[in-house]
Symmetry: none
Subunit: 157 residues, 2 copies
DNA sequence: TTTCCGTTCATACCAAAGGTTGATTTGATG
DNA sequence: CATCAAATCAACCTTTGGTATGAACGGAAA
C-alpha cells in the first residue's frame, strides 16, 4: 500500500499527508466529543463533510477538465493567384511544345531572345524559331501580345 | 436547511437521497461491526472512503466545463483583378508623366510603337521618346521588362 | 522674366525582334 | 523500318525597337 502511494504523483502525496493530518484531527475531535450527547453522529457527520470536501478537491485537482468546444469560423481572404495554377485547358488548346512554353515564360519575364538562348543553352536561331512557332500557335505577331494573351489565359502567373 | 436543499438542482436532491441511503447503510454497518476489534476505525475509514468518492462524483457532475475556443479559418477566394486599384505609391516614386503612363499601358496591351502613335495621335518619334524616357525612369532596357515590372508594382492591371 | 519640365517631332544609327527557308538529329508511334 | 513531330541550328532579310542628339512649343514655378 505504501509503495503504491509513493508511486503516484505529487497530488497523491499531498492527499496522503492531508489524510494523515485529518486523521489526527479526527482523533482529537473524537476525544473532545466523546462526552457529548450524540457525539458519534456529529463526529460521523464531520467526517462525511470533510471527506466530501476532500473528494471534491481531489476531483478538481486531478480530473481532466471538461472541454466545451466553441467553434468560431473566421473568414480569411485569399488571393486567387497566390498559388498560381496553370490553366491546363487553354494550354492544351494552344498545343505549345515544352520548349515553346519555356521560351514564352522567359519572354514574360522580360528577357531578350539572346538572354533566353543563354538561359536555355540554345542558339539565338533556335529561340527565334521557337518564338515564331509559338506566335503562330497563339495567333499573335509580337512577343508583347503573346505575353499579354498568355497572362489573360492563365498560362503564365 | 431543508428548504435550502429543495431549492437546489437535481444533483443536489440526488446527493441528499444518496446521503440518506448511506446513513442507513452506515448505521447498519455500525451495528454489524460494533463487536469487532477496531470496528470504530474501520467504520470511519469506510465513511472517509465513501464520502471521498461522493465528493469526487459531485465535483465531476457540477464542475463547469472549461470552454475551449477553436477558431476555424475559412478560406474565401477573391479574384485577383476584380477590383484593380493602382499602386499610387509606386507610381509616384517612378514619377512617370501622363503621356509616359499612357504609352506604358498601351505597351502592356501588346501594341507596337506605331500602333500606340496612331492611338494617341502622335508621331512614331514621340512615342519612342516617351518610351525611352519611361525606360530610364523605371531602370529597364526593354519594353517587356517595363511591362513585367509595372505589373508586379501594381501600376498596370 | 527666366528657368525648368513635359510634350512634341525629326534624323540617324545600331540592336533586337520577327519571318522564311532549309537542314539535321532524335525519340516516339504505327 | 518508315514516318512524324519536336528540337536544334544556320543563313538571310525585313521590320521594329532602342539610343542619341537636337529642336520647338507651352505652361508652371522660381
Amino acid at each position: 500500500m505504501a509503495s503504491n502511494f509513493l508511486k503516484g504523483k505529487k497530488h497523491i502525496i499531498i492527499y496522503g499527508i492531508s489524510l494523515a493530518i485529518l486523521l489526527v484531527l479526527l482523533n482529537w475531535l473524537k476525544l473532545r466529543l466523546v462526552i457529548i450527547d450524540h457525539a458519534f453522529e456529529v463526529y460521523n457527520g464531520a467526517i462525511a463533510l470533510i471527506f466530501t470536501g476532500i473528494g471534491i478537491w481531489v476531483a478538481l485537482k486531478l480530473a481532466k477538465p471538461k472541454e466545451k468546444i466553441v467553434v468560431i469560423e473566421k473568414e480569411v481572404m485569399v488571393e486567387k493567384n497566390v498559388g498560381f495554377t496553370m490553366n491546363e485547358t487553354e494550354l492544351n488548346r494552344l498545343n505549345l511544345s515544352k520548349r515553346e512554353l519555356e521560351v514564352l515564360q522567359l519572354m514574360a519575364q522580360g528577357l531578350s531572345n539572346q538572354e533566353i538562348a543563354d538561359r536555355l543553352f540554345l542558339s539565338l536561331s533556335t529561340v527565334k524559331t521557337h518564338a515564331n512557332n509559338l506566335f503562330d500557335k497563339m495567333g499573335v505577331e509580337r512577343r508583347t501580345q503573346a505575353i499579354n494573351q498568355a497572362k489573360q489565359l492563365g498560362i503564365i502567373p
